[in-house]
Symmetry: D2
C-alpha cells in the first residue's frame, strides 16, 4: 500500500518504459520509432499516434524520448554533464509554450523514505526554485529576468491518504502555472537499465496506465496545462528476472515450443513468493543521488538558461 510500483503487465512482464513495451511488440501499427546516437548517448524517439495504438502497449498517445547512456555506471563527470544537457534540450523542445515570464511547477512523485522510490523528492531538493523571489521580493532585488519556478514533493497515497492528483490539481488551480514537469521512479524489465536510461514524455503520468479515468491523470487532459514527465528506471521486479531466465533457456536449448508452458509453470511459484521483491543495484543509495543531480541540472538549465550558474550561487 505504501508503494506505487503496481502497474499493469504485458505478457506477464511489467514495465513503465514505452521503449521496452515496444520491444515486446516491435511491429504494432500507429507506433513509430526513430533512433539517434550522439556522443556515446543513444536516443530513441517513439511516437504513439493515437489512443487505439497506445492501448496495445498500455501507454497514452504522445512522444516518448529515451536517453540511454550505459556508461553512466562509470560515474564519469563529463558524461553526467552531457546527459544533463541532452535532458535540458528535450525538455525545452517539449515545452513549446514557455516564455521568459512563465511559471513552471515541478512535482517530485514518490516516497522520500523508500530509497528506490525517492528520485522525485530528491530532484525537487536540487531544482532552483525562484517563484518566491519573482512573486514576493520587490522588483529589482535580483538583476535577472527569471522564470517563476516552484516545486513540490506531494508524497504518496499510502502515507498521506491523498491521491497525488488532488494535491497537484488544487495547486495548478491556484497557481495557474504555464507547464508542469513531473519526476518519477520507473520499473523496467532490464536490470541493466537501472540508472542508465531516462524517459521523457509529453503524456504526463497516468496512474491507471492509460485506461479509463482521464480526470485523475497527471496530464494535460487532467490538469489543463502542458504536462511532461521525466522518469528513470530504479527497480526491476524479481519475477521479471525469473522470466528472463526462462526465455534465455528456451532460446539456448531449442525448447522454444514449450516456452509458454514453462512460463506458466514458473509463474505459479513466482507469483506466490516473489510478488513483493524487487531487484536493485547494491549501491542504490548513492546512484539515485547522482541521477537526481543529473536530472535537476537538466531541468535547471532548461528553465533558467544562462542564469543557472548565478542562481546556483545565490540559492544553494
Amino acid at each position: 500500500m505504501k508503494n506505487k510500483f503496481t502497474g499493469k503487465k504485458i505478457n506477464g512482464i511489467y514495465t513503465d518504459m514505452a521503449l521496452e513495451a515496444r520491444e515486446l511488440h516491435p511491429d504494432l501499427p500507429g507506433i513509430v520509432e526513430q533512433k539517434e546516437s550522439i556522443d556515446g548517448i543513444e536516443i530513441s524517439r517513439i511516437t504513439i499516434q493515437d489512443e487505439a495504438s497506445g492501448q496495445q502497449i498500455g501507454k497514452l498517445p504522445g512522444q516518448y524520448i529515451t536517453i540511454d547512456a550505459p556508461n553512466l555506471i562509470t560515474r564519469d563527470p563529463e558524461l553526467f554533464k552531457k546527459v544533463s544537457q541532452q535532458i535540458s534540450k528535450e525538455v525545452v523542445a517539449l515545452l513549446t509554450n514557455i516564455s521568459a515570464e512563465s511559471t513552471v511547477l515541478v512535482v517530485g512523485l514518490g516516497n522520500r523514505y523508500v530509497t528506490p522510490d525517492s528520485l522525485g523528492p530528491r530532484v525537487i531538493e536540487k531544482v532552483y526554485v525562484t517563484r518566491h523571489i519573482t512573486n514576493y521580493l520587490p522588483k529589482g532585488t535580483i538583476d535577472m529576468a527569471l522564470k517563476s519556478v516552484c516545486a513540490l514533493a506531494p508524497g504518496v497515497l499510502g502515507v498521506t491518504g491523498i491521491e497525488t492528483y488532488d494535491i497537484v490539481e488544487g495547486l495548478v488551480a491556484n497557481l495557474k502555472p504555464d507547464a508542469v514537469i513531473l519526476i518519477d521512479s520507473l520499473a523496467s524489465r532490464r536490470a541493466a537499465r537501472i540508472n542508465t536510461s531516462i524517459q521523457i514524455t509529453d503524456t504526463g503520468i497516468s496512474p491507471g496506465s492509460g485506461v479509463g479515468n482521464t480526470r485523475a491523470d497527471l496530464s494535460q487532459k487532467g490538469l489543463g496545462v502542458p504536462t511532461i514527465a521525466i522518469g528513470v528506471p530504479m527497480v526491476v521486479f524479481a519475477s521479471t528476472i525469473a522470466q528472463d531466465t526462462i526465455h534465455l533457456i528456451a532460446n539456448k536449448t531449442g525448447l522454444h515450443s514449450d516456452e509458454e508452458k514453462l512460463v506458466q509453470l514458473a509463474q505459479e511459484v513466482i507469483s506466490e513468493s516473489m510478488g513483493e521483491f524487487i531487484v536493485t543495484p547494491k549501491d542504490i543509495d548513492s546512484i539515485i543521488n547522482d541521477m537526481a543531480q543529473i536530472i535537476a541540472e537538466g531541468i535547471n538549465f532548461a528553465l533558467h538558461g544562462e542564469n543557472t550558474e548565478t542562481l546556483g550561487e545565490i540559492l544553494s
Copy 2:
C-alpha cells in the same frame, strides 16, 4: 528567506503565544483568561472576544488554550501520556462539528530539514492516516468505523516557492474535509517554555499576524472549514534573552526609571549582531521527537478514539 520565524514584535519582544502576549498587557479589555490546574498540568484558557481586542496583542479573536507542563523536561512517560490525553480532550472540544464519518486534514507546517522548525512534518509522520483505507479499499476490509484522516507536510515558501495557503486551500477545495488541524513550531519569549508548553487555538494560523489579508489566512475564514492550530515553542530569539537580562537588572538595581533608555541602548547592538540567532535547548534534536510523539498521540486519540491502538498495530 528559508525561515518563517519572522513575526511582529510587541514592545520589542517577539512571541507567537497568546499567553505571553497577554502577560505583557494583563489588563486589556475584551481579553479574558481562566486558569486551571489538573494533575501537574497548568491550563490557561484565553478568549479574545473580538477583532479590536485581538489587534491590541496581534492575535485573531477566538480561543487560545495553553497547556503548561514544565516537568516534561524529566521525560516521564506517565506525564507524556497525561499531556497527550489533555491535547486529545481539547481537540475534541474545539472540533464540535466532527462525526464518526468525517474527513479531517492534518497539515504539518515548517521545514523538515531545519530542526527547530521540523515539529509539524514530524507529527505528520506519526499521525494515523486512514483516508486511503476508507476511500479506496473495498468496504469491510477493515472491521472498524473509521474517520477519514489524511495528512500533508507542504514545506515552506523559501524551499517550494509556494505559499502554504495555496497548497492547503487547493487541497481543501478537492477533498472537502470537515476540519483542518495545523501543527507548527512557535517562537516564545521564555526559554523555559521550549518543549513544555502547547498552545491550541480555534483561530488557525495567520502568517500576517492577524492584520489584513484574511484570504491567505490558514483559518476558517480563509479555508471555509473549521481550522484549529496546535503549536509548541521551539525557539526564543537571542535578542529576547538580552532584553530579559536588562529587565532583570533594572528590577534588581532599582534603575527602573532608566529601563527604557537601557533597552534602547542594548537594542542597537542586539539588532546588529543577534537578529539571526536563536536560543534552543542543546538536545533539541531529541526533544522535538518526544513532542512530536505527544502531539501525534493526542491527535490520533482525538480522531480515532478506541480504534487508536488497533490502528497503531495495523499502520505502523
Copy 3:
C-alpha cells in the same frame, strides 16, 4: 568497494547462512542438526564439530542457531515479542561466562547509509548503553546492579579505509570486555527468508569465510574473548533468483539430467549482467527498522534482565 556482500559461493550459490549451506549438502559428516518448534517459531541448531567439517560448507566450527518466523511479515507485535525473547534466551545460553558485573561490547557491522547493509548500525542505536553510567557516574547514582554495556558502529572498509578488525581489536585491548556481540546483515539464497530468519552463532564473523587468516577474524580466536554474532538475511543476489528458476524448471519438466548444462548456460549471462544486483523487499526501509528493534530488545533483555524496562525509561 563500498559493499561487503562479496563472500564465497557454494555450487554457484552464495549464502551467509549455515542452515542453507547445509541444505545444499544435507549428509556431510561432522555437521549435526537438531530442529525444534516453539509457538510458531522454527528453531534449527546446527553444530559444526571441527574445522575440517566446516570447510566443506565454508563455515567455522561452532554452533549456529537459526530462528525462523515466516509470520514476521504480518508485523504482529506479539510475534515480535516472542522472537525477541527467543533471541534473548539464545544469547544468554551462548554467553556462559557473563556475570552481573561484566562488560559487554556490542558492535554493529555494516554501512548506515546503504539500506540493506544498515541493520548493525540501527541495532546499535537501540541497545541500552550503560558503561558511561557504571564507569563514570558516582556510585549510587543509579539504584540498580548494572552490567557495563557499550556499543559501536565502526563503519565499513570502503568508507573508512580501515578494516573492522583493527577498530574492534584495538577497542577490546583497551576496554577488556568479557564478551563481544556482533550484529550484521547477511545474504541468503531464499528471498522468503529476508527479515524472517535470525542466525545466532558463537563463531563470530570471518570476513574470509573460514579460510586462512584467523588473526583478522572477528572471533574468540581473533579477539581473545567470547564473540557471538547475530545476523539477519537482508539480500539475495539476483543471480540466485535466476538459478532457483532453473532448478524449478528442471524439476517440473523432467529435464533433470540437463540441469548442469542449463546452469552453465545461464551462468554466463547472469554473471555479466547481474553481478551487482540484489533482490530486496520493496519496503526494506521499514522492515529493517522492525528487525533492528526485535534484535535490540533481545540483546537488551539478555544483558539487563529485569532492569530493562527501567533503563528504557531512563535512557530513551
Copy 4:
C-alpha cells in the same frame, strides 16, 4: 550526558578558543600573538610557550592558529575556496613529519545526530579516504602516488559508553599512522564567530581542558604521534549572551564600578534557567554543511595535493 559542551569557564565565560581566552587576559606572560591579514581573511597565531602559561587560560602549550572570515556568512564560493586553501596551508605547515608514503588518520569527533555537534562526522563523510586502495588493491590499480588516508567518526561517550580516547588509541596502536587530524565543534563566546572562525592547533584536544590526566588526551602525548585539531565555533551558551549584555550596559551607563555586582545578580537567574540552552544561527543545518565542505577540502588538498581533483572523481 549526550553533549560534550561542558568545559571549564574563565571569569564565568565559557570558550574553547585560545583567541578568546587570550582576549579576556591580553597581557599574560608566556603567551605570544601574531596577526596577519590575507585577502579578506584575518589570521591570528598564538603561541603558548609552556604548561604554566597555558594553565592561566586553561589551554595546553603549543600553537593556535585562528582563521577569521566574517564574510563567510555571504556564502561566496570564492571565499569558501580561499579559506579551504588557507586551512590546507596551515595543516601542511603543522604536519612537518608527513611524506608521500605516510598514513594519516582523520577523526571526526561529536554526535552526528545533534546538529551543532555534527561537524566532525560530516567532515569525515567528505574526506577522501584512500587507505583501502593503497593497502588492499593490487599495486598499479591506481596510477598515482597516494598517501594512505583513513577516517573514523567514533561517536560520543553518552551514546557509545566508550571514551573517544579508548577508540582512537586502540586504532593508532593497530594502524600506526604518522599523524592524526581531529575535527570538532567548539563553543565560543561570540555568536558572530559561529561558522566564520576556524581554529587549528598542534595541541590536539584535551577533554579535561589541559589539566591533569594526560594519558586520556587526544594529543601527541596521549597518542604517541603528532596530533592536530581543527575546530569551528558552532554554539554560544545562552548565559554568555546574558553576560555580554551586562558588560554592554555597564560600559554604556558608566555603572562600571557595579559591574561585578550586576554579574553576580544575573548569574543566579541565568544559572538556573539557561544552563541547558545554547545560541545558534537559525540556519545551522545548512551552514554546518558548508563548513564541513570547506574543512574537508582543506584537508583533502593538504593530504592529496595535485591528486585531489582526480581522487574526487574516482571516489565520489
